[in-house]
């Protein structure tokens, strides 16, 4: 609503009020720090309003919750592999020798006031933290918000996702229970699967043969100092770039590439974002209070001779685990050395490859389309069918591997054979993404067609008319102007056309071959897209509609029911006689 903007200047002259104590303190601080100018500018900074712009905020606030609960946990957790005998409150483990790390995890759970709640909030927050980063990433990709000038922020985001995953894995390994130890044993195996350097890497990390007594203190340092420090620094950089670039916005009346339409930081977003922090904290606290997560006391202390069914990593490591589970048992024996493709491909090759693909998406798209312009207006996913389809294909690949990581739980709970799930997944991870890509692309294109339909012929009013011959037809009403503007506020796609292979003097272009590839890719990228109607097409369609309406001029004093004749919007219209 534009009513919120003052229409005229005030009639009373401004008067200086009584100096307040708070004002005096602010002046004192400003004289020394000079923050007023910066604050004045940034506190009035405008952010656009859309629910999908708040997904990254979930990640930010759950990170804050992680810091708060994490500090609490460090007060009680002892990252030590010294063997002690448990003598705490949990009957089933009393008298068992275990590492001090596991004992202190049990003590946090049973003998520290609110310790279990804090542990559970911390773990749920970690799960939500990585998950919200991921849906934020999807939003940024699907709306084209990663385009110039925001490519570097995309890269920072991808690194944050990687660091969040590593932070989660180190945290998962700290309690030294049976599950975390099994995870570490798997990690040890992964390292050892790398050719030549594998065993050196393992011995370097574990300080000798697995498990040794160094790994928990080392992981602890990484978990509470190294990775959180990097995360904090990169989150700061991510948000500074956000402020510097200004937030993207959806197209609409009054919104251009050169402005931001929305509400100011203070007071509106301070209230909204601040409130959202408490919502996030509240939801995570409820989850920590009511939903059990990683009941370490039930797993028992880590013992390399033991393992439990249902040993899975936390969800964000589930997809490489799934790849590992469905990988055929391929090994090559060369000159007395075994190359373990069965571990290398799913764990050492696939995840780094996927990360590289993710990071390079903005750059690949920019190269194919040749688009060097700055973009501050977002694109609807349907208006970039190939881009949308690429991400849906990647999501399908990820999702199938994710499901494969839970193959045993799927087998027991859906009464399926774990072997059949494995065989199915081996094919599905290759076929599924292709099918998803094709369906998504065609779906987007048909949605584009639908947009053009509504622009040219109006929207479906829901009013069914019966004509004199007894035929039925649905009335279409012209779109409101603002909506029509929003739908047409997008650029026509420009397919890259290579320059001629040789210049006027017959000298061959040095980039001819590259240009050819690029032109073919660009044609595939944009080729099937539906472009918005031209001005002439729109005018012709409107003209046509007017003539049609003239032909069907309404009768004077028409009978009840004719107010729904489809010549205007039906909202607010009612039958005069009640039926």
């Amino acid at each position: 609503m534009t009513d919120t903007i003052a229409k005229s200047n005030g009639k009373q002259p401004a008067k200086a009020g009584k100096p307040s104590k708070a004002g005096a303190a602010a002046t004192w601080a400003d004289d020394r720090l000079g923050m007023a100018g910066m604050a004045k500018k940034n506190l009035r900074k405008v952010f656009p309003d859309h629910w999908s712009f708040m997904l990254g905020e979930i990640a930010l606030w759950s990170f804050v919750v992680l810091l708060l609960t994490g500090v609490f946990l460090t007060l009680w957790f002892r990252p030590s592999m010294v063997e002690v005998v448990y003598d705490g409150s949990y009957d089933q483990l009393r008298g068992i020798p275990m590492s001090e790390a596991y004992k202190s995890s049990l003590d946090i759970s049973f003998d520290v006031r609110a310790g279990l709640l804090m542990r559970q909030i911390h773990h749920w927050a970690a799960m939500v933290f990585v998950g919200s980063m991921m849906i934020h990433l999807l939003r940024v990709y699907f709306t084209g918000a990663f385009r110039k000038p925001r490519e570097l922020n995309w890269v920072i985001g991808c690194v944050l996702l990687l660091l969040g995953t590593l932070e989660g894995f180190t945290g998962y390994s700290l309690p030294d229970d049976l599950l975390s130890g099994t995870g570490l044993r798997a990690a040890d195996g992964f390292m050892k699967a790398s050719p030549v350097v594998g065993s050196y890497m393992s011995f370097f990390l574990f300080g000798g043969e697995f498990p040794g007594s160094s790994i928990i203190p080392r992981l602890y340092t990484a978990h509470v100092l190294l990775i959180p420090g990097l995360l904090l620094a990169l989150i700061a950089a991510h948000m500074l770039l956000l402020v510097y670039h200004k937030h993207t916005q959806w197209p609409g009346p009054g919104r251009t590439e050169h402005n931001v339409v929305g509400f100011p930081m203070l007071p509106v977003y301070m209230a909204k974002a601040g409130g959202f922090f408490f919502v996030v904290f509240g939801v995570l606290t409820l989850m920590g209070g009511f939903l059990s997560i990683n009941p370490v006391w039930r797993f028992g202390p880590y013992n390399p001779a033991e393992v439990t069914a249902g040993s899975q990593p936390d969800w964000y490591m589930g997809w490489p685990d799934g790849a590992l589970r469905i990988m055929p048992n391929w090994e090559t024996h060369l000159w007395g050395i075994t190359v373990s493709w069965n571990v290398m491909v799913p764990i050492l090759i696939l995840p780094p490859l996927m990360l590289m693909i993710l990071i390079s998406l903005p750059f690949v798209e920019a190269w194919i389309t040749g688009d060097k312009r700055e973009h501050h207006l977002l694109e609807r996913p349907r208006n970039a069918p190939t881009r949308t389809a690429v991400m849906v294909a990647l999501m399908t690949f990820y999702g199938l591997l994710w499901a494969a990581g839970g193959n045993d739980i799927i087998a027991t709970h859906l009464r399926l054979s774990i072997n059949q799930i494995t065989y199915f997944m081996r094919g599905a991870v290759f076929i599924g993404p292709v099918i998803a890509f094709l369906i998504t692309r065609r779906w987007c294109i048909s949605l584009q067609r639908h947009d053009n339909e509504t622009l040219l012929h109006g929207y479906e009013s829901g009013v069914i008319m019966r004509d004199a011959q007894g035929g039925y037809s649905e009335r279409h009403l012209p779109l409101p102007v603002a909506r029509a503007y929003t739908l047409t506020a997008r650029d026509r796609d420009q397919i890259f056309v290579p320059e001629s292979e040789a210049d006027a003097n017959g000298v061959a272009s040095p980039t001819a071959r590259k240009d050819k590839v690029r032109a073919a890719l660009a044609k595939y990228w944009y080729g099937s897209n539906i472009q918005k109607p031209t001005r002439a097409q729109l005018e012709a369609a409107h003209h046509h509609a007017e003539i049609e309406h003239d032909h069907e001029r309404a009768l004077e004093n028409s009978a009840d029911g004719h107010q729904f004749d489809g010549r205007h919007d039906v909202s607010g219209e009612e039958l005069t006689t009640k039926h």
């Binding site: 998950g131 409130g275 919502v279 989850m287 039930r298 069914a309 027991t412």
Partner: protein
């Protein structure tokens, strides 16, 4: 002293005199066998006792068996082979009363239909009928008996017993049955069932007889005390409240991940939509 010495010398002399006799070697062999056999019978753990059930019970069991079991296991419980050489129903000679009590008592036998694994269901036979079937099967050949209630009485277990049972459980059982006894997947659609809500007797019998996919944990592998300790640990877990809140099935991180997405991210994205839908209202609009 001298007398005994004299006597022993005399006996030795007599024996020595006959040591080249033709029957000496078979006699010594027979003696050796008798001693070994007798000692084995006297000293070996009593896994294969056969309780003499009275004839009537066996006859009743046989009648029930012919109606409910013989179609798969054969009329004399000798088992039925399929054409391809597999087993339609295995032989029950020597499986013992404990196996019958477990399979029929948990409703796994008779099976509702041939499938990868017999499922637990409400028992078809009552206690008396199960006893009769068990008596019939154990009359076919020696096998483990139904354990006495004192063997699986968890009330006599101390906390040390429970802790030791937990150690045994994590070493021998969690790999298939999961850390909380929630069950786990096995190859080709088979699975290790969950252990919650299973009676102590049936747990004991399962360890003793190794039903379906399960290995046999005979009394030489896990002594009766070890078995009772494992059962005590599992029963103690059932009594222990779920400290962390809803257990989400106690199947590990998969259900936790599902809840993190559906409940956690679901409600937070919902909250984001709600916050964005409620736009900022200025005082001017409120007056209007």
């Amino acid at each position: 002293m001298r007398l005994t010495q004299k006597t022993s010398h005399r006996i030795a002399g007599r024996l020595s005199a006959g040591r080249r006799s033709r029957i000496a070697a078979p006699l010594v062999l027979l003696l050796g066998l008798l001693v070994t056999g007798g000692m084995y019978a006297a000293l070996s753990p009593a896994t294969a006792q056969t309780k003499t059930a009275d004839e009537d019970t066996v006859a009743k069991g046989r009648a029930l068996f012919l109606v409910g079991c013989a179609s798969c296991h054969g009329k004399n419980a000798e088992g039925i082979q399929t054409v391809k050489g597999g087993q339609y129903g295995p032989t029950l000679v020597g499986v013992g009363a404990a196996a019958v009590d477990f399979q029929v008592g948990t409703g796994r036998m008779p099976m509702a239909q041939p499938s990868t694994q017999a499922l637990r269901k409400a028992p078809v036979y009552d206690a008396g009928e199960i006893e009769a079937l068990a008596a019939f099967v154990s009359s076919l050949g020696p096998g483990p008996n139904v354990p006495e209630s004192s063997q699986y009485d968890v009330k006599q277990s101390s906390n040390e017993d429970i802790v030791r049972g937990g150690e045994f459980f994590r070493t021998n059982c969690t790999a298939c049955h999961n850390f909380a006894g929630s069950g786990g997947a096995l190859p080709r659609g088979r699975f290790a069932p969950k252990l919650t809500g299973v009676s102590a007797k049936h747990m004991y019998e399962a360890m003793l007889t190794g039903p379906q996919q399960m290995p046999v944990f005979s009394d030489q592998v896990l002594s009766p005390t070890d078995k009772r300790q494992i059962i005590s640990y599992l029963k103690k877990n059932e009594e222990t409240p779920a400290y962390g809140g809803f257990s989400l099935g106690s199947v590990g991180p998969v259900s936790e991940g599902l809840v993190a997405w559906l409940v956690g991210l679901g409600s937070l994205v919902g909250a984001a939509i709600w916050i964005a839908a409620n736009s900022a209202r200025s005082r001017k609009k409120a007056q209007a």
